[in-house]
Symmetry: C2
Subunit: 403 residues, 2 copies
């Protein structure tokens, strides 16, 4: 058995990790950049000893330069340093984008001893990194600082709040290890895990193969289930580093803690969905297959008509039904049911919404979190995607912000 307890000090709760951020003035000159005034645009996370690193990267074919730079390292390489910048994605910058990272890393290694340093970027696509500005950060950053709060804030772009979590895992034998993460993301989040950076660090003595296996699974159950607007960015990255300093490990406990931290961060990203006011679980069950359940559930979380109905708090199950029908899965209107939380809102015997149920449905929709559950009635396939509403703020942020 084991015990998982939340901690309050972010990345600082994990042994042997250091992190800090500084501001080198990387804001673009575009008047409409819309980025809020966050004190920091270059940050690092480093470990005093070499770490195994596991990653999940975007499926976008135009992978950004930092991802292509990462992939030049040999398989199963170890690293002790992640450099992160906001404001510039270093995407669609070609080979020059990779050379810029190499120039920056050479400068870094002349200031501080690093092993296979990794870079991660978020911001505007299509501009070369301001190499000299980023290098100037190395004279400002204290490489022995542990400032998780500032690091978590420095990676924000359109985020309304920082995303930082940590857990302590105590095992039966009295030993313990820690896992902590910071995460950035609000717009462009989709079932293919878009414009999101997530850095998870641990001191667990975990084998690399377990890291790879569990990170993929945890991402599938968290970041890949959320949708803000169905787009997928060039830079999405989830990284897991472990420096093994706790000298202890339990696979089951680590798995649970990793899934917990990933899922909670995903919900934070969703709640921070640009202009979003509520998080909705779209459960589809009874589909012929899991793939069909996933297709229908994802269609609901991505549907503009569903998202605007959520924003309008309109108990308009017709849009739910129409979206399920349009997803192309096998379904039949006399076997199908819809619930909002535990309220039956549509079934073969129960089609028109009477005023009493409409009132109840409206009260459920007013909550900042609720579940829409569709039972297809044809099989055992189940999937839950998570979505949010879409309102005026989304349009405002995305018409005015250059990302």
């Amino acid at each position: 058995m084991y015990k998982i307890t939340p901690q309050n000090n972010g990345l600082a709760s994990v042994q042997g990790f250091f992190c800090a951020a500084t501001n080198v003035g990387m804001r673009t000159n575009h008047a409409n950049s819309g980025m809020s005034d966050i004190d920091g645009d270059v940050a690092f996370i480093r470990s005093e000893t070499a770490c195994d690193i596991s990653t999940v990267f975007t499926l976008n074919k135009f992978q950004a330069a930092p991802i292509r730079h990462f992939q030049k390292y040999p398989k199963n390489f170890k690293t002790d340093f992640i450099l992160i910048n906001a404001k510039n994605a270093n995407a669609m910058t070609g080979e020059k984008g990779i050379e810029d990272i190499q120039t920056i890393m050479s400068a870094l290694s002349s200031k501080h001893k690093v092993l296979n340093p990794v870079m991660s970027s978020t911001g505007v696509i299509g501009y070369r990194l301001p190499v000299e500005k980023i290098i100037s950060a190395f004279d400002m950053l204290d490489f022995n600082a542990i400032d998780s709060d500032k690091t978590a804030r420095a990676i924000m772009t359109t985020d309304q709040f920082k995303k930082e979590l940590s857990y302590k895992i105590e095992l039966d034998d009295g030993s313990s290890f820690n896992i902590a993460a910071i995460c950035k993301g609000a717009g462009m989040i989709n079932p293919a895990m878009a414009t999101m950076l997530c850095f998870i660090v641990s001191d667990a003595d975990i084998p690399k193969s377990d890291m790879d296996e569990m990170l993929t699974a945890a991402t599938e159950q968290s970041f890949n289930k959320i949708s803000v607007d169905g787009d997928t960015s060039t830079n999405d990255t989830v990284m897991l580093l472990s420096n093994k300093l706790s000298k202890t490990y339990n696979k089951e406990a680590f798995k649970e803690a990793l899934e917990k931290i990933s899922f909670e961060l995903a919900m934070m990203v969703l709640r921070d969905g640009e202009g979003a006011s509520k998080v909705v679980e779209f459960e589809v069950k009874g589909a012929k297959t899991v793939e069909e359940a996933k297709r229908a559930s994802t269609a609901l979380s991505n549907s503009l008509l569903v998202k605007t109905a959520l924003f309008g708090e309109d108990p308009n199950w017709g849009r739910i039904a129409s979206t399920i029908g349009a997803s192309g899965i096998e379904c039949s209107e006399d076997k199908f049911t819809i619930h909002y939380d535990n309220l039956l809102i549509y079934s073969n015997d129960f089609r028109e919404l009477d005023p009493k149920r409409e009132k109840e449905a409206y009260n459920i929709m007013k909550q900042d979190r609720f579940r829409i559950s569709c039972d297809i009635g044809l099989g055992d396939g189940e999937y839950t995607a998570y979505g949010c509403d879409l309102g005026y703020e989304y349009v405002k942020i995305n018409a005015e912000y250059r990302s």
Copy 2:
């Protein structure tokens, strides 16, 4: 040779067709129905002689009752009457929805001799038709009227303007035939041709097999290429009727006229996209296959981030590139180019947007119609999808209107 000339009198330009509309008070009681005050909710189109009828229906699995009612007629049946209602989609109403149509059609046939009457509905999903109200229309409608304008307006829901076109086709031998159409649609339009009703009538002496073949092809090149928000409704219908009264026909001429009328109506629907202010052609060429070009082009026309950037008139090619990359097609950033109209905005040698080109791009985007052209540089696959911007009005209409 032949000559195609626009006419001004809508359906009235086609021999032997009659049409009219009346108002039976079918507005829902929902304060937020948002439907504008249009004088008419029940309309008909009929021919004095039996017509062949060809159709393209929604791919939504939950096809509305009028579509399922239609499909109960034998293959290649002839009809002389289409009854149309707005405000209620008669969708997700089960077998009862079909029985309601049968009740209505029985009442109709006691007032007016009809052959295999067809129904078409648009409006809110999930409510039974108000059968008695609709039947009451038969005492009000003048079945010998020809009021194309009123008919075109009666089928509108969130449409901002009526959609009505007609053409006269003159052949070399001095004979001529006519084609005319009315169409309804603004929201929920997607590459699978959503919440749209289109009624095309002709007096050409066209064989049924030509009608079927050409209607499918014309729909593919028009309504299936437009996207307002990526959703697909339960009721989408395109119908083509011909009563042969002109006693003349030319396949090539009919094909061109049908494609022209379908494409122009599709552009009208797109321009009327809920809250849309501009129409954009998304051309993708140089893809490995036509299917890949179509996938990428459709992804652009459906991307919320692209649509909000269009609304913001931000020459943000990064979102175009990211969407192409996310569509999953084969592509490479050093072979890829982007043009806005004739302005090269991205190529391998030409990545960062200088202020001069940015200004030019901005001027192009200010137009109410322009082209974004992406050359993948890998093959011969080409496809053009048509989309529109998405602004505050879209959210307002769809958060407040129950559809």
